[in-house]
Amino acid sequence: MLTRRGLLGGLGAAGALGATGLAPRGLAARAAQAAPLTRPFPAYGGPVPAIGMGSWITFNVGDDPGLRAQRVEVLRTFFERGGRVIDSSPMYGTSEEVIGHCLAQLDRREDAFAATKVWTWSEDEGPEQMANSRALWGLERFELMQIHNLLEWQGHLETLLADKEAGRIGTIGITTSHGSRHEAFEEIMASQPIDAVQFTYNILDREAERRLLPLAAERGLAVVINRPFRRKQLFRLFQQHPLPEWAAEIDCANWAQFFLKFIVSHPAVTVAIPATSQVAHMEENMGALTGRLPDAALRRRMVDYVESL
């Protein structure tokens, strides 16, 4: 398994990774990228595009044909702009069903890196819930199955290990958000046979830099970042301010790209999964897959800038 251990000493000061994966400090920072930015997803065996898509609230639209048709367009834009990783959960109402509908409409099931979660108190209900998710997405296999918010994690982990063996899932992950339960999370990261972790990290919520991100790098775990915009809050806080002039040096045309490039330029991050219900926003977000990324010094400057506003 590919691990980044050793390459990534002192993550806070480390440089950004280039489009092809691991690059020496500083070098990649200003290198223009022609191809969309991808990152290795170690246990999966191949690279994935560094911007994915979440589906909390945004894809829970039920049967409304108009809303469904809009979401088809959102997902079409996502794929056309090079996206692959789609994250959902049985907790998100009709989201999985609507994603399945969109994938079928677009005939893109094969292109998706499908990530969902198991979310039930009962270990026994896990297999049925996951089978239901497969039916809703119209897939026979999830590339990433995550234990949502560590709920009943010991029991589900056993099921997932068996499912991985049987080929029903590609990799195993755990999730948390909002900075909650980081200690328990860390313990599982350090001791259990998992492949990926998902937690919150964004330009204001940087708690993960202290322990979770370095530990993930050390353990060779893929890192999925949720709440990259702190839901809408980052826009509400900063959108009325101009982007700094030097944002052009990292090819950020808007705030969404500024926020996302901050995240995916962290060397331990694999993929950020912003959610959106709008094609225009998807265009902006996917723009973060191309162009230059900030290096460590510029990342510091990005933080200083938003904190000064």
């Binding site: 609230i57 829970n60 039920g62 049967d63 409304d64 809303l67 109402g93």
Partner: protein
């Protein structure tokens, strides 16, 4: 703050519109039952059986909203819907038990009862009209249109407020425990209103609180009177 609602206002209003469409023509029946309960709770029309009938009609509304709205339909959208559904069924069972066993009586002419009638009338008539009318007069969206109009007995917000209003017209100590779940729903509706920018929910919350305070006040007065 973590927003617990897994949908936005557009989706909720679309769901309510599709729900109303699927239920048609239950709406006139629900309105008629609500109006009948209101009339029964009116003092001059109140006979020996009216309290029981009022409680029964309310039980029917709570049972439908618990089952037909939350468990059968809304559970697809919101993981908390089953919890709400069972709470509504529990209130239905309480109301039915009171109707069967406790002989609730319609209150006379107190100011509490007057406010109760007004609140129930507001829930029955004004709440469903308020959104569409406000929209017609150019108010910003935030309560939906005709298609998603909330009706007593079919949707939770108006049912809770209607119940609190009628409880102010029913005599006795039972009114207060019966008001607990409606008040809780009023608060949940307020949270929905706040989180989704739907002022309809905020109105339900504010009026539910008024009703609950009046119920407590009345009970306190009665206890003092006895003491």
């Amino acid at each position: 703050m973590f927003r617990m609602l897994p949908y936005d206002a557009e989706v909720l209003l679309s769901f309510l519109a599709r729900y109303n469409e699927a239920l048609w023509p239950l709406q006139p029946l629900a309105l008629a039952l609500g109006a009948a309960a209101l009339l029964l709770a009116h003092r001059r029309l109140a006979g020996a059986w009216s309290g029981r009938l009022v409680a029964l009609v309310l039980a029917l509304g709570w049972a439908w909203v618990g089952w037909g709205f939350f468990l059968e339909r809304f559970a697809r959208f919101d993981f908390l819907a089953p919890l709400y559904g069972w709470a509504f069924l529990a209130e239905a069972a309480l109301l039915a038990a009171v109707a069967a066993l406790a002989r609730p009586r319609v209150e006379g002419s107190s100011a509490f009862a007057g406010v109760g009638l007004a609140l129930a009338g507001f829930a029955l008539v004004v709440l469903p009209l308020a959104g569409p009318l406000a929209g017609m007069f150019g108010a910003p969206p935030g309560a939906g249109g005709w298609a998603s109009a909330p009706l007593v007995g079919l949707m939770p917000g108006p049912t809770a407020l209607f119940t609190l209003g009628l409880l102010l017209r029913l005599q006795g100590r039972l009114a207060l425990p019966l008001a607990l779940l409606p008040l809780l729903w009023g608060l949940v509706a307020g949270y929905h209103g706040w989180a989704l920018g739907l002022w309809h929910g905020l109105v339900v919350a504010a009026l539910s609180l008024v009703a609950a305070v009046l119920l407590a006040w009345r009970q306190l007065g009665e206890a003092r009177g006895r003491g």
